[in-house]
Symmetry: C2
Subunit: 95 residues, 2 copies
C-alpha cells in the first residue's frame, strides 16, 4: 500500500471554493479507480487556510493510473487558482 | 470525521525499531477503539527517517478515547527514545 499526504495551502479568500471542488471531484475520482483504497481531505484546525488530502493506493499501478487520469488533470486545472502552495509526500505503508 | 496526520522524524539509527513498534502497537490500538476508522503509518520516500501516521476518527469522543488510553500512553512511552521530532495536525474532514 502507498500512502500520499498532500498539504495544500489555499488563498484565504478561496477556502470555500477549494472545499467545494474537493467535495465535487474526489468521490468521482475514487469511484473511477478501484485501486484507491481511501481518499479524504480535511481542513487543518490550527493552520490558516490549510487542507491535507490523504490517499491510499493498493499499489503503484493504481497511483499512476490516478495521477495520469484526464479526470484528475481536469479537476486540478479547475482548482489551481485557489491554491497558494502544495506539498505532496509519498510513503510506503508499514501498517 | 476527524483526520489526524502526525509527521514523525525518527533518529536515523532507530528507524527499524520505530517501524517495528508501529507494527506491534497500531493494530492493537485500533482493535481497542471501534471509533478509529483507519490507522496507518508510512515511511516517506523523500525525507530522511520520516514517517507519517494518518488516522481517522468517527468523532471527537473516539479521538479523545484514543488519546487518553493507557495503551497509547504505554506504547508511546516505549518508542519515545526513537523519536527526534513529532508534528501532529488535526483536521475536520470535508470529504
Amino acid at each position: 500500500m502507498i500512502l500520499v499526504v498532500a498539504t495544500v495551502r489555499v488563498h484565504p479568500d478561496r477556502v470555500e471554493d477549494y472545499a467545494a471542488a474537493c467535495r465535487d471531484m474526489m468521490p468521482r475520482l475514487q469511484a473511477a479507480n478501484p485501486g484507491i483504497l481511501f481518499y479524504h481531505a480535511g481542513r487543518s484546525r490550527d493552520e490558516e487556510a490549510t487542507f491535507r488530502v490523504i490517499e491510499a493506493y493498493a499499489d503503484r499501478e493504481a497511483m499512476e493510473r490516478h495521477i495520469g487520469s484526464d479526470m484528475l488533470k481536469a479537476s486540478f486545472a479547475g482548482m489551481r487558482d485557489y491554491i497558494a502552495d502544495i506539498d505532496i509526500r509519498v510513503h510506503d505503508a508499514i501498517v
